[in-house]
Chain length 79, copies 2
């Protein structure tokens, strides 16, 4: 059993309205000194495969389903 | 400038329909040996504060806005 962590984040320059609104709301609650909030999507996938195969398979999952290559980058970490 | 990573995940036993549907879709695409998919929300916050203060402030953000303590756990990591 291998657990892979798939981290999907927006590419540089792509708007992150959720992050922006979170920042505004935090500021309106009195938090100061925030210069940016970025949102990231994480999937933890339990795979019945050895680490190297799990890594390759998770990257394939990103290409086929989880990530949109136009606006997102992905990174796979085996835990 | 400190970057804190705020990781918000569902508590054990709380339903994760997004994860479940992602798993089903991956299986329907031919991926085998998946025994679970869990979704996690991540915020990267840039704070104008030293590391220890940033950590405390991020935890306060979770309590006040970002996490729902009934169904979610949060973890703050200073990078």
């Amino acid at each position: 059993m291998t657990i892979v962590e798939i981290r999907i984040e927006l590419k540089k320059g792509v708007a992150d309205p959720e992050g922006k609104n979170t920042m505004k709301t935090l500021q309106s609650l009195g938090f100061q000194g925030i210069s940016g909030v970025k949102t990231v999507k994480l999937f933890e996938v339990e795979l019945d495969a050895p680490a190297d195969k799990a890594q390759a398979e998770a990257e394939e999952m990103c290409r086929k389903l989880l990530a949109n290559p136009v606006i997102q980058n992905y990174r796979v970490t085996v835990r």
